[in-house]
């Protein structure tokens, strides 16, 4: 059973670009891919781009070893070469380097692009596939293992069989019922072997006439109008998705061997638009049909469909498929804002300013230092037989590559106590200080992240970002009140610091904890001051163990022993807030950053 998105993609590979498959590697994903490749029967080659690929293997280039051996330039083609009309599969797509992303997007923008399947294995709190790539692929499918298998087993199958045989009518409650049935049984259409449309008849999906004019439909308006209306309601950004949705609807219709119906539009909305939603649509009560509607389309049954109702229905359908993070009110962190591109550690050989040379293999994308290479080869020339022919004899050992260094910024992680005790005293002041730091870091290109803790949990409300606009918005929206889960906050900070450390060119992390130290919620979410404080001290020790430089800003009205203990446990510089105003905090953090460099 493969998701419907892949079935549609196989039917219209060029119009839909490709898909992001989100989920862990495993037999299920492999089975999907296999089935997809069988359905697609691509005209071009199928290539996998390994994560560790070097630029010369990706784009092609000079084969250095062969060149030197042969004494004339020997070029080697890159892995993307000749993939026109083929398939490019990219595992661990969330960790691709910019070079690979740029190469893939260029390929997708070009004529005769391959189908790109990006396999996204990121965890929930990790950055996802680069938006530049994800944007150009029509489908974003989550493997969601349990859900899918459950859906496959539930009794929705019969429901769908009917719906695929007789296109839904929009009138009356029956349509809404069927829609709900579909929503609960999403996996079913995805069973290609059971789908009558798919293997019946001589038509291979690829032979279908997908380019039939979308105008020839029984719909009252141009199908794009419905899709665009749904896209607007869902806050879908950019126009690519709109086009993809239309292509997906057309592909779905032609797989069923029929003209475009509202069913196809619903599917397209679910598959293409819903995963890109940036807001939860508000569905108003259906407005009374405009009086001229019946006047313009008298009598005809199909045309009696209220266009407004269909658009609402599309939006309604999409609601069931909105990304869960959206429903929690949290925008999925943008990949770049969150940074986190795992790249090979050769990155420092490719970017930045030159600081020296070292022995190394230039094929990893590092810059060959020719002068140093020749200098290294020079003393051996007499000893090397090849040199007697009058040519320069350079061996692999001679290669010197440039060492480059680029400035890495500091990421300042603020853990802000937004609990009730804190809110009373100091939340506004704290916000002021963080805002000042934001303004500073904006000039210095440092990144800022924000963890807020209150109630029972600590939440990373702002992933590391340089975007001032985002940071400011988050800070303004920060609310106060509730208990003080100090330990949870420290562990969240620790996790975030670990994540930052894994990034390429991560630079330093500085933790700035603003709290009054009155922990009263333990790690497991239960109350109780003693346990909460013990947990807090333990978590603070783990910060020290991880060697994360920290500043603790004591926001309690008068100096308290708990805070001093906490500072000692995490080896943090302690600054009492009574003596600092917002500018003072900002100055303290500045000095701490300078010290941590």
């Amino acid at each position: 059973m493969i998701p419907q998105a892949l079935t549609l993609l196989a039917a219209d590979p060029r119009g839909l670009g490709g898909a992001v498959l989100h989920g862990p590697a495993g037999p299920e994903r492999d089975a999907w891919l296999e089935q997809f490749l069988r359905d697609l029967a691509p005209a071009g080659p199928v290539r996998r781009v390994p994560l560790s690929i070097t630029p010369d293997r990706l784009l092609g280039g000079l084969d250095l070893t062969a060149t030197i051996a042969a004494g004339r330039p020997v070029m080697q083609p890159g892995i993307l070469h000749g993939t026109e009309d083929g398939v490019v599969i990219v595992p661990s797509a969330e960790r691709l380097s910019d070079t690979v992303i740029a190469a893939l997007t260029a390929l997708l923008d070009g004529p005769r692009p391959p189908v790109v399947i990006a396999l996204d294995e990121s965890e929930a709190d990790e950055p996802a596939v680069a938006p530049a790539l994800a944007q150009r692929l029509a489908f974003h499918v989550a493997l969601g293992t349990e859900q899918l298998s459950l859906r496959g087993r539930d009794s929705g199958r019969g429901n769908l069989a009917t719906s695929s045989k007789e296109p839904l009518s929009l009138r009356g409650g029956e349509a809404r019922m069927s829609l709900r049935g579909r929503a609960s049984g999403r996996g079913n259409l995805a069973t290609p072997s059971k789908e009558p449309c798919h293997h019946e008849g001589a038509q291979r999906p690829r032979d279908l006439n997908l380019d039939a004019a979308p105008e020839s439909t029984p719909l009252p308006r141009h199908p794009a109008e419905f899709l665009c209306e749904a896209a607007l309601a869902l806050g879908v950004i950019g126009s690519r998705a709109d086009t993809f949705a239309l292509r997906a609807a057309l592909a779905h219709a032609s797989l069923h061997g029929r003209d475009l119906t509202e069913d196809d539009l619903v599917i397209a909305t679910e598959l293409v638009l819903a995963p890109r939603a940036t807001r939860i649509p508000v569905v108003d009560a259906p407005p009374p049909p405009p009086p001229d509607q019946s006047a313009t389309n008298p009598g005809s049954e199909t045309e009696a469909t209220d266009p407004g109702e269909l658009a609402d229905r599309l939006v309604e359908a999409a609601r069931a498929f909105l990304p869960p993070s959206l429903l929690q009110g949290a925008m999925p962190p943008s990949r770049h804002a969150a940074g986190g591109r795992g790249d090979s550690d050769a990155a420092s050989d490719r970017h930045g300013r030159r600081v020296g040379t070292r022995r190394g293999d230039p094929r990893t994308g590092a810059r060959l230092d020719l002068i140093e290479t020749l200098r290294a080869a020079a003393p051996w020339q007499r000893a090397r037989p090849a040199a007697r022919t009058g040519r320069l004899a350079v061996r692999k050992d001679d290669f010197r590559i440039q060492r480059l260094r680029r400035r890495t910024g500091t990421t300042v992680v603020f853990a802000v106590d937004a609990s009730g005790s804190q809110a009373l005293h100091r939340l506004a002041e704290t916000k002021g200080a963080v805002e000042l730091l934001l303004a500073d870091s904006y000039v210095r290109r440092d990144r800022v992240a924000l963890i807020a803790f209150r109630g029972t949990t600590a939440e990373e409300v702002l992933p590391p970002t340089r975007s001032l606009a985002r940071a400011r918005r988050t800070l303004t929206a920060l609310a106060g009140g509730g208990g003080t889960p100090l330990a949870a906050a420290l562990l969240a900070a620790r996790r975030l610091a670990d994540r930052i450390a894994r990034e390429r060119n991560a630079g330093n992390t500085l933790l700035v904890l603003l709290t009054d130290g009155r922990a009263n919620v333990a790690l497991d979410g239960t109350g109780g001051r003693a346990r909460a404080e013990a947990d807090g001290i333990a978590a603070a020790r783990s910060i020290r163990a991880a060697r994360i430089p920290a500043v603790l800003i004591d926001t309690s009205p008068r100096p308290s022993p708990q805070v001093a203990q906490l500072a000692a446990a995490m080896d943090a510089r302690l600054v009492p807030l009574p003596v600092v105003d917002a500018h003072g905090i900002s100055g303290t953090v500045q000095r701490a950053i300078a010290a941590s460099r």
Binding site: D98, I101, D211, C228, V236, S239, T243, L246, S467
Partner: protein, 343 residues
């Protein structure tokens, strides 16, 4: 043939189109920065440019496509060929629009020692980079805000001076590289340092259309284009040619467009009201207004031209208060309303 979407068929985004046409008319304007969401047609507009711009004449077999008519600004290779007594012949080439991908290294941008030649034949030869390829055309840098600062610095330096000076790996040379730099980026993903931003001549904001009809039209045209690019391009060829002719006429008329003293005063007042840093704001504003007038087929700059270009010329030069929520565009619009009240 070109599979690019026709310029005239692009729906909406009037600011961006105007800014690019101004830059095409007067390349000295100093580049265009486009801020906005993904998938709003930024790349499409830039890549459509070669379709409307008339082909230019260039020295045949020159790696930098030098201008045959400009004597001073030739590359070293052309000079050498001329000194050797060769008569340089010219050929027509399309205006280059070069993409600078995000992962590009400094080598690829600036150019570097031609390793192939160096290793195989021991010849020291320069392999031109993207800057050379963009000479006399456009250099499109997508996500310029995510590019490393030293690369952005370098790009803007070369764009401003028109010369790429290469001093590395035993190479020492300079070649002309006059291009219009077009940067794009999404401010949600990171800001561009103000000192870099200020060096772009114009800055426009693009948004996902919120108008249903406009959005539908985008999809309709895009689908039609995907279905049959050649027929679609043919349908729009006339419209594209018309835009191209407009740019050609504007280029010729540019020097004759008159800027009256009161318009200069108005521009200065606007900049004063906004408190822009330095004089670059005024200069760009008037220069852009002149190009806008030329595109408009007018001989004199009017208040309407100033009003049309003021947001794109000044928006990115305001002194920023990081805690001020008011968008720069709103501030410019307010100042315009104040200084140049609608009649």
């Amino acid at each position: 043939m070109s599979h690019h979407y026709p310029f005239a068929a692009i729906v909406g985004q009037p600011d961006m189109k105007l800014a690019l046409l101004i830059a095409a008319t007067d390349p000295g304007i100093g580049g265009v920065m486009v801020f906005g969401d993904r998938g709003t047609g930024k790349s499409t507009v830039v890549r459509a440019l070669p379709g409307i711009l008339p082909a230019m004449s260039a020295v045949r077999d020159c790696r930098f496509h030098c201008d045959p008519t400009a004597n001073g600004a030739r590359c070293d290779e052309c000079h050498a060929r001329e000194s050797a007594g060769e008569r340089l012949r010219s050929t027509r080439v399309p205006v280059p629009v070069v993409d600078l991908p995000l992962g590009a290294t400094e080598d690829r941008v600036v150019g570097a020692l031609d390793l192939e030649r160096a290793l195989a034949s021991g010849e020291k030869r320069f392999e031109p980079g993207l800057l050379a390829r963009a000479h006399r055309g456009f250099l499109y840098v997508d996500e310029v805000n995510l590019l490393e600062d030293h690369l952005v610095d370098l790009l803007l330096d070369v764009a401003a001076s028109g010369v790429n000076v290469v001093e590395r790996e035993g190479l020492s040379l300079r070649h002309p590289a006059r291009f219009v730099i077009v940067g794009s980026g999404n401010p949600e993903e990171g800001d561009l340092r103000p000192q870099l931003l200020d060096r772009f001549g114009l800055s426009v904001e693009v948004r996902t259309p919120t108008d249903l009809a406009e959005r539908v039209e985008v999809v309709r045209r895009r689908t039609a284009f995907d279905r049959d690019p050649i027929a679609f391009a043919a349908d729009w060829a006339d419209a594209d040619r018309k835009v191209g002719r407009g740019v050609e006429r504007a280029r010729k008329a540019l020097d004759t467009v008159h800027v009256a003293d009161d318009m200069v005063a108005l521009g200065t007042r606007l900049c004063l009201a906004l408190g822009t840093d330095g004089l670059r704001g005024e200069l760009t504003l008037l220069r852009a207004a002149r190009a806008a007038a030329a595109l408009d087929g007018k001989r004199t700059v009017t208040v309407a031209h100033l009003r049309a270009v003021a947001p794109m010329a000044l928006r990115h030069r305001l002194r920023r208060n990081p805690l001020d929520e008011t968008s720069a565009t709103t501030r410019v619009e307010r100042a315009i309303a104040e200084v140049m009240p609608q009649p």
